[in-house]
């Protein structure tokens, strides 16, 4: 007998060991998320995927699915708060969508649209953050980093390297690079690495690819993120990944 849980009144099957997010993804139920990415160890830090499980707030990307769970996901109260959490990310860094190459392909931006985010709501921190353009093929704009650790996990789990890490504490957190100089050019990062392509914002960009896909023809220009999430097998469209990674994830 298959086990089931209920999300917003819909009965959904799950396998033992799956998280709520995994069960929902298989069933085609979209739960907003930023730090989660299928195929990587769940992190549970962005808190966008928070759902109510039997009345209690739980992080769905890390919380195990269990028989008979009653999960509230798509409620106004939760989405209002998810919008505010997204706004926190926007004011923490310096996210200027109109001038960002990632615009239209950006998960952070797409989640903002999905949650009907129309302003930044909170006072800006105006954080002073650097840009690392030292690497011949890849650049880091720290202004856009949301500390999701996907690049760190991708480097470790997919590329077998340890190029990225998150350092610091509290609001002074920062992305750091594993090289003697601290610069990307002296690290082991290669442009074909999964870590170079996984960033859900415009913090890690591939050089000389800017505007190859014109604004208006990008991933989220015609579809919202909840529609696109299930267009391909993964929770992220394959066009957002380099060919090598996309092929790999289709095999999964």
């Amino acid at each position: 007998m298959t086990k089931t849980l209920i999300i917003d009144g819909q009965t959904i099957p799950f396998e033992e060991g799956q998280t709520i997010m995994e069960a929902a993804t298989v069933a085609g139920v979209y739960i907003p998320h930023l730090c989660h990415h299928e195929g990587f160890t769940p992190h549970g830090s962005c808190k966008l995927c928070t759902v109510k499980v039997n009345g209690r707030a739980c992080t769905s990307c890390t919380f195990p699915a269990a028989e008979g769970q009653e999960v509230v996901n798509n409620s106004k109260a939760l989405n209002d708060d998810r919008r505010k959490i997204t706004q926190m990310l926007f004011v923490e860094g310096n996210h200027l969508c109109p001038g960002c190459e990632k615009s239209g392909n950006c998960t952070l931006q797409a989640v903002g649209y999905h949650l009907n985010m129309l302003d930044n709501h909170f006072p800006h921190f105006y954080a002073k953050r650097a840009v690392d353009s030292s690497h011949p093929d890849v650049m880091i704009d720290h202004n856009r980093c949301i500390f999701c650790t996907l690049c760190a996990r991708a480097s470790q789990e997919k590329d077998g390297k340890d190029v990225f890490a998150i350092s610091g504490r509290g609001i002074t957190k920062q992305l750091i690079v594993n090289s003697p100089s601290g610069l990307l050019k002296d690290s082991e990062l290669d442009v074909t690495d999964a870590a170079a392509h996984i960033c859900p914002t415009g913090a890690i960009l591939i050089k000389r690819t800017g505007y190859q896909i014109p604004i208006g023809e990008r991933l989220y220009d015609h579809h919202t993120i909840d529609e696109i999430s299930f267009a391909v097998s993964g929770s992220r469209p394959s066009t957002a990944l380099p060919p090598s990674v996309a092929v790999e994830s289709e095999k999964d």
Binding site: P42, S45, F122, F147, D162, G170, T172, I176
Partner: protein, 595 residues
């Protein structure tokens, strides 16, 4: 340096689990963690350099840039403020000719604030190169400044500067219970190990850190795990401002605490224990090591405890200035030599803790109680307290009272009774459970100390009528922003938003919607944060907003909106460039004139 690092790494078996201990030693020797050390440690421990940087940048007592050969930190707890800390800091800063947060040009001394050092009963307190300084005043500050300017080595400083007293004013069931060395272990083996667990169950003992999970249940869960490698951890990272009972317990009841851990090890089938000692209690380290040695000599620790087929030993790990490490899963991460970032749960430590193995983490006081229960039985303990909260609770009382110190009460005691004992008058309110607890007003002193009413880890700060509530809340709110580990969005961003928003209001820049906006951030941080730190970080604001709403409203300007920045000041650069300073080149903050 290479040799120093090599020897250090060798002492710790080149184990990454000891990275924090290694970095503490490097910081102590070189007054920062130099680039060269990072390189060498990375090579010796076979870990990426980023891991070392992440640890160095996480803990307040580790630094990547040089601090003074004398690193002076002054405790920033509200109780230190009440004892004159702010004025003392100015005085010290002048005497030492260095601004707070700075390193003096000659590299001799650096001065800064630090979170509560657990000496609230004898503040203002501080740390010099990690060692506690107590009851600081102008005289002592002058002496310290002279000693530093004369570069007198620390061991030659007058011992009065480092004098720490216990200040036990009201001993109860536990503090009066003087156990002979080995008594709890002997009783346990005589009664039977599983029968002893039954006694602990009967005692109704619940975790003394504040959360109150049933101790016997936790130990049973651990003992029932299929994984045989298990660990016992004593959480002596009492970082909650206003708490210092563990300092006293480890100073005067360490044998009993270690014995409680050993009882736990026998019950759970563990062979290795850890005492995670907060860095601020460095002054206890040597003494505790000596006690562990004594216990090994006496056959109370080691390969054959009491001559039985029972192997257990205890290792001390020092923290390095991170309140979050009091959270049990963050503590375990720190024990593993990583930044203290709380884990996702489940799995809970009792199934997957230290190195992924079943681990019991309990408070110092819990282990003390367990040892006493092993000797005296469950009924002895359960006879005190209330139906839902058995036994006694040890309180650290500080603030506006005649006798700040340690008091032990049966659960169910009223706040008024406690206030009568410690000598108070004109009390405005009491912060029960520290900043993460609750502020209760003088209309609520009939409330009781109990898990079902006022649960507390032991912090009890008294405020009299001369104190400003918003100053208190501001101190607490800044504390949480400083201590947030930064893992999750709501706490990382939210605690800083709270700090800024509260500063705006108390600074007189708040307008109509600003208290509502403050409350909105409070709810987000409370509901969505990953761990207890974030979930309680808004408590100081929420509990005072509930009791004194008019206090917040009275800070607001009678305008509907004020920009988040100073408009006129923002024009300064433009004025300078245009070489203008006439009336038209200035802007007033909008809306200031009308109601």
């Amino acid at each position: 340096m290479k040799e120093f690092i090599f020897d250090l790494a060798t002492i710790y078996g080149n184990q990454p689990t000891h990275l924090l201990q290694i970095l503490r030693a490097v910081q102590s020797r070189f007054h920062h963690v130099p680039e060269k050390a990072i390189e060498d440690i990375a090579a010796l421990l076979h870990i990426p350099r980023t891991r070392i940087i992440a640890v160095a940048e996480f803990y307040s007592f580790l630094h990547l840039s040089p601090r003074g050969r004398y690193e002076l930190l002054i405790s920033d707890s509200i109780t230190d403020h009440m004892l004159g800390k702010i004025e003392l800091m100015v005085y010290l800063s002048n005497k030492l000719r260095v601004a707070p947060g700075q390193l003096r040009q000659d590299g001799l001394v650096s001065l800064n604030n630090t979170s509560c050092t657990g000496l609230c009963d004898q503040g203002p307190a501080g740390l010099v190169n990690g060692y506690a300084l107590t009851k600081l005043d102008h005289t002592k500050a002058g002496i310290i400044a002279d000693l530093i300017n004369q570069t007198t080595p620390l061991p030659e400083w007058p011992s009065e500067l480092f004098s720490v007293t216990d200040n036990i004013y009201k001993p109860g069931l536990l503090l009066n219970c003087c156990l002979d060395k080995g008594a709890a272990l002997t009783s346990m083996f005589k009664r039977g190990v599983s029968e002893t667990l039954t006694e602990i169950d009967r005692s109704g003992l619940r975790g003394r850190g504040g959360a109150g999970f049933k101790t016997a249940l936790k130990w049973r869960f651990c003992s029932e795990e299929t994984e045989q490698e298990r660990y016992v951890v004593c959480n002596a990272d009492e970082g909650e401002p206003g708490t210092f009972k563990d300092r006293v317990l480890l100073n005067s009841y360490a044998h009993e605490v270690f014995e409680g851990m050993t009882v736990c090890a026998a019950i759970t089938g563990s062979t290795q224990g850890f005492l995670y000692l907060r860095g601020e209690y460095l002054f206890l380290y040597d003494k505790l090591q000596k006690i562990l040695d004594e216990r090994r000599q006496a056959g109370l620790l080691g390969a054959t405890v009491l001559g039985r087929n029972f192997n257990f030993d205890i290792e001390i790990h020092l923290g390095a200035g991170a309140y979050i490490c009091g959270e049990e899963s963050a503590l375990i991460e720190s024990l593993e030599g990583k930044p203290g970032i709380p884990r996702n749960r489940p799995p809970y430590p009792v199934t997957q803790g230290y190195l992924g193995k079943p681990t019991v983490v309990n408070n110092v006081e819990t282990f003390l109680a367990a040892a006493a229960i092993a000797v005296n039985g469950g009924n002895w303990f359960a006879s005190a307290g209330t139906e839902k909260s058995k036994g006694t609770k040890i309180l650290s009382i500080s603030g506006d009272c005649d006798r700040p110190g340690i008091y032990e009460y049966p659960f169910g005691t009223t706040i008024q009774d406690i206030l009568n004992d410690c000598g108070t008058s004109g009390v405005l309110g009491v912060q029960v459970g520290g900043p993460s607890g609750v502020f209760i007003s003088n209309k609520e002193f009939n409330r009781k100390l109990a898990f079902e009413d006022l649960a507390t880890g032991g912090s009890f700060i008294v405020f009299n009528n001369t104190r400003n509530i918003l100053d208190i809340v501001q101190n607490f709110t800044r504390f949480f922003a400083h201590e947030s580990c930064g893992f999750c969005t709501p706490c990382r961003v939210g605690t800083s938003l709270l700090r800024n928003q509260l500063d705006k209001i108390t600074g007189g820049h708040g307008s109509a919607g600003d208290v509502v906006a403050l409350e909105e951030i409070c709810q987000l941080v409370k509901t969505y944060s990953h761990c207890g730190l974030g979930q309680t970080a808004a408590n100081p604001i929420l509990s005072t907003l509930e009791r004194y709403p008019e206090l917040y409203q009275s800070q607001l300007k009678k305008i509907s909106y004020e920009p988040g920045f100073d408009l006129d000041a923002a024009l300064e650069t433009a004025r300078r460039m245009a070489n203008r300073n006439d009336k038209a080149a200035h802007l007033a903050q909008i809306g200031e004139d009308h109601d």
